[in-house]
Amino acid sequence: MSAKSRWANEDPETEAIIAQQKREKEEKRRAKAEKQRQLEARKAQAQQDADSQPPNGEPGPPKKRRRLSNDPDAASDHAAVAKIEQEQRQQPTLLRFPVGEWGPCRHVDNFEKLNHIEEGSYGWVSRAKDISTGEIVALKKLKLENSPDGFPVTGLREIQTLMEARHQNVVYLREVVMGNKMDDVFLVMDFHEHDLKALLDEMREPFLPSEIKTVLLQVVGGLEFLHSQWIIHRDLKTSNLLMNNRGEIKIADFGMARYYGDPPPKMTQLVVTLWYRSPELLLGADKYGTEIDMWSIGCVFGELLTKEPLLQGKNEVDQVSKIFALTGPPNSQTWPGFRLLPNAKSLRLPPTSTISSAGNPPLLPRSRFPYLTNAGLSLMSALLALNPASRPTARQCLDHQYFKEDPRPKPREMFPTFPSKAGMEKRRRHQTPEAPKRGQEAPELDFAGVFGGAPGGDTGEVGAGFSLRLG
């Protein structure tokens, strides 16, 4: 060992080896070319043979025989020929499918609970540590009330859809673990520091336009994937959008998600938290599709702009009137067929609904979003189109001009970080209403008061679930 580096020490040897390898390679190449020629000649021969054979619909055996043939000219280097053949055969590389396995659930004792994060309508979430790896995870306990039908289908769907929805913008379900009792079931998911709702509550100023685009692009990107996998989320809202300190957004809480089909199966209309619920659901449609998620995206978009939920109805009737106050009432041009929806019968539209719509869907009033560009307003108006058919798909949304114009979406790495509430301390309950409970009866809604103010609660003095009747 001298002053020479230990790498230099090996140089002569390595060089020799390299030279040797080069020579060998050269020889191999020459041999290969030779074999190639022979092979082609034999192939042509075989082709002739095959052509002379009667077609028997059985492409297998003759080729196999040929491959194993031991022609005198190839006998010397049979192995080499086989190798070449193999290489040629491998040209069309076969796709290997991802092979999963199955095994029993692990026990929840493999995790150490650290702190409680929140209680949603479908379970309790806490921060926990995987004892074997030390990784921090989110542990969600499924609420399994004594269901008459066995394991609740909502829980099954949540697990099923999360397992299949592997996407960088969908929260990652690591595994499902069980507790001591038969109905203790926990979902183990990646932990994320924030949810957008809590973050918006904490922020002094709303996100910058470039940041909003980054957030929205990720949400819609994740949603586009879900829809492409025939999964409909049915409970998109800011508190279900998680964010980590690397600026990554993850769609979470699949308690309402399910597979849909074409034609859509009959699905319950009691989905989506009230403030994010689309007008067709409020009017009682039982045939609906991915458009309801796009409406929710529009509401989230609005919330990102102003930090405040866009449409904070006190109940279904109030929600409808808030929606119409923003978008203007529907008419048969902007939303053909809305009259046929079950709850639209009681809807009395103001006689002043003059058809003023320029463009379909009509633009929302600019005054509500003073800092939004024209492209942004057109995207928002499209997402919040009353007619579900007028809303863009997630794919169309991603291609929208709004995301292409300046300011460009901020790179994720440049995203500001925030102190995490979920990571440190108990968090207060959100003010957002909860997602509807499964199994509830869809309420018979009387929308007579949407524009009149007679029953219902659009006057501001009336609390949820309690209405003051004056005369």
Partner: protein
């Protein structure tokens, strides 16, 4: 292509360890008995699905979940769980997740009929052909008390299945894939498509457990290969299976496996002849005891 998109087309497969060590074999159930019971259980599931008017994709998924349940040392043991309960719960669970959910009562009514010693249409439950007198309704109608207790068993077994499979209920089926491949190959003869579906459905009962050892694309290709041959339809003259990502060796294995299912079923029918195949734990115990006595007697 992102691996994401492939999940729809692929399945979790059994590991070699899971295939060689089942929970039942560890518990001392002879392997031929285990195979017979598992196969009969798959038939039971199929029959129940038909009586419940479930579509074949639901039934096929249920059979695959049923099959997975018994595999591996961590799987279910025939000395602990009754085949009939696992079959019913697998079907109920699969239907629940589909667009055609069904009720516990419907499922249990159908299983009561299928397991009736006097009225079942299944040869392995009621061997010996049709009875002379029509069976009395009490033998195949579920009483209210019977329903209440059976429902508890059904729902508990459902949870057991879910825990055993770690809640992974994903099953990709080869049927639709096969039809797509047939179109790609330009085969238009309906008889081929029909035969393909028949092979794929019959393979659900295969003792080689083809659905948990091979990916759906390979099952589809093998069924097409066999069906085209048998229907005398000539396919393209090249190694077309490679286009569908199946190599010759796998194809060969599957072709043999699919062809052998019929022979296996015939052998089963003649082997069990006038005996019924155990469908509950007690019957499995009795059968094991009977075999032990036979051995000692010799």
């Amino acid at each position: 292509m992102a691996p994401n998109g492939l999940k729809h087309l692929s399945n979790a497969l059994a590991t070699p360890d899971q295939l060689s060590n089942s929970s039942s074999s560890i518990d001392g159930v002879p392997s031929d008995l285990e195979t017979s019971i598992r196969c009969a259980g798959a038939q039971l599931t199929q029959a129940a699905g038909i009586l419940l008017h479930l579509s074949q994709d639901i039934i096929a998924r249920a059979v695959v979940i049923f099959t997975r349940f018994w595999l591996g040392a961590d799987g279910g043991s025939l000395r602990i769980y009754s085949v009939k309960d696992v079959s019913a719960a697998a079907l109920y669970l699969t239907a629940k997740l589909s667009f055609q959910p069904t009720s516990p009562r419907s499922v249990l009514n159908v299983y009561t009929l299928l397991l009736s010693r006097d009225a079942s249409p299944l040869w392995f439950v009621r061997p010996g052909g049709s009875p002379e007198a029509p069976p009395s309704p009490e033998t195949y109608i579920l009483s209210e008390g019977g329903y209440q207790s059976a429902r508890l068993v059904l729902l508990r077994t459902e949870t057991v299945i879910l825990r055993t499979l770690a809640f992974d209920t994903h099953v990709a089926l080869p049927h639709a894939i096969a039809l797509t491949y047939l179109r790609t190959l330009g085969v238009t003869k309906p008889a081929v498509a029909q035969r393909v579906i028949q092979y794929l459905n019959a393979s659900l009962l295969s003792p080689q457990l083809l659905y948990v050892t091979h990916q759906p694309n390979a099952l589809a290709v093998a069924a097409i290969y066999l069906s085209a041959r048998e229907e005398g339809v000539k396919l393209v003259d090249c190694e077309w299976w490679e286009v569908f990502d199946v190599d010759r060796e796998e194809l060969g294995f599957l072709v043999v496996g699919m062809k052998s299912t019929e022979g296996f079923m015939r052998a089963e029918a003649s082997q069990w002849n006038d005996k019924s195949i155990p469908m509950v734990v007690d019957e499995v115990e009795a059968e094991i005891e009977r075999r032990r006595m036979l051995e000692e007697g010799e």
